[in-house]
Symmetry: C2
Subunit: 273 residues, 2 copies
């Protein structure tokens, strides 16, 4: 999916919601555990319930890999099941020397047909660029993450006061462009989002951290708004585990709809219609 | 495998060689492609041929994942096949928020029984610590990598001249210790290895970059030697693709033996016997 198509979906669905598909056998409803593939059945129900309100899905590979090859089958089936009008982000946080990154790109853009993959920037340009060589595919590069550990290295300043995450954004903007490169910017650091936005006015931000991690949608929109919205705000646990009973998909739909309605209001205020 | 056992293996085999298992269907001998699981058959032959000369194996997950669930089966079979006296490093370069990293730890330390996993430090302490909570399991943290992109961020200096990779080593030495934390230090930056060693005199370094990437074993030993050796020097392509014909395992054995003999000489000179 390219940028224009993604923006069109945001307008059609009046939403910039991304639903994180992080299925955990200890948290999904017990009645699903008897299915042959509980993870896929759970995801299928969540996708059916939320697809009207979300423009993107973000399966996190950790929750699939922990089940070995069976988990990778569940992941592949899930990605196949996601409707073609939704943007699919493999939250995989890969990144290796160029030769190896090209195999990760093959994995997530060919073997399983994702639109985007999250990539860690530590190893620099040649670890990122193999992912950028695919047409209509995206890198979502870690910039300023939502967790406590973001403070350990991402905020380090060089002699002129430029922080590491700023270096990551400045350097990577030469490797890719707003048509194939997004950034992860955590909702838990709302005021810093503004500084990131100043560095990358057109780039999409994938914003985790609202809900379970404590970030606010209103603040994200206030500080992070970019050209044509340029935000994908993720919620995982707040939607998919809204209930762990037989009504889980209904409750997930309710939570997704609630966020979508808040987003629709923001899109109106921001003049997207 | 704990530190004492790893050092004992280095003494028994007179080797600090790690063989990278990066099977690529375009590079492995053609006659293996008719097997049901060419990747496993290739690895099995490489392991049989090299196990006398190597103390560690390092499968890189990218080369398995690109085949989807089938690739993960090949990976699991490979890890099961590696003899128990060899240290197994999943070269996976994972790292995510704490809750997610704990699932990656489960993947590589429980679902497949590796001794160690490579981890990217960008997301800080809570992205690394879940891997450190397992007894006799290891994190191999990216510090100074062997690729060109290492210069993009890892060498950035703060106001006092401390580089990012030095921050990574200093901070992480509070999260773990030389019994559960190693560092990736590339052979292509031999003189900088000395500076890294000064910061972490007891920690094992996993050193990629000799052979295909241009690093020298002699220089690595000269600049990188630590307490009880504390080096695992990796070779992937130089060993496993020494030949792509029917004699591939014989040639791999030859290359591994050659490196082991150089290493035995170094171990003698350094007084390990």
């Amino acid at each position: 999916m390219n940028r224009e198509e993604l923006i069109a979906q945001i307008k059609i669905k009046q939403s910039f919601l991304c639903v994180g598909l992080d299925p955990d056998l200890e948290k999904i409803p017990k009645h699903l555990l008897d299915c042959e593939d509980p993870i896929f059945e759970f995801n299928k129900a969540i996708i059916d319930a939320t697809k009207d309100f979300t423009v993107a899905y973000k399966p996190n590979t950790a929750f699939y890999e922990c089940h070995g090859s069976k988990g990778w089958e569940s992941l592949a089936k899930t990605i196949d099941y996601i409707p073609s009008d939704c943007f699919v982000i493999a939250d995989a946080k890969r990144g290796d020397i160029g030769n190896t990154s090209s195999y990760y790109a093959k994995t997530f853009f060919e073997t399983i047909n994702c639109d985007a993959i999250t990539v860690a920037p530590y190893m620099g340009e040649d670890s990122v660029s193999p992912f950028l060589s695919y047409e209509n595919k995206w890198v979502v590069l870690l910039a300023l993450t939502s967790n406590k550990g973001a403070l350990d290295f991402q905020m380090l300043q060089d002699k002129t006061g430029i922080r590491l995450y700023e270096h990551v954004i400045k350097a990577s903007s030469k490797w890719g462009n707003p048509d194939n490169l997004m950034y992860v910017v955590g909702a838990t650091r709302a005021e810093e989002i503004q500084q990131v936005r100043a560095l990358a006015p057109e780039s999409f931000f994938l914003v985790p951290g609202i809900g379970a991690q404590g970030g606010s949608l209103e603040e994200v929109a206030k500080y992070g708004w970019g050209k044509d919205c340029a935000l994908l705000v993720n919620s995982s646990r707040g939607i998919i585990y809204a209930s762990n009973d037989v009504d889980f998909s209904e409750k997930a739909r309710h939570e997704a709809k609630k966020l979508q309605q808040e987003m629709a209001n923001i899109l109106v205020i921001k003049g997207m219609f």
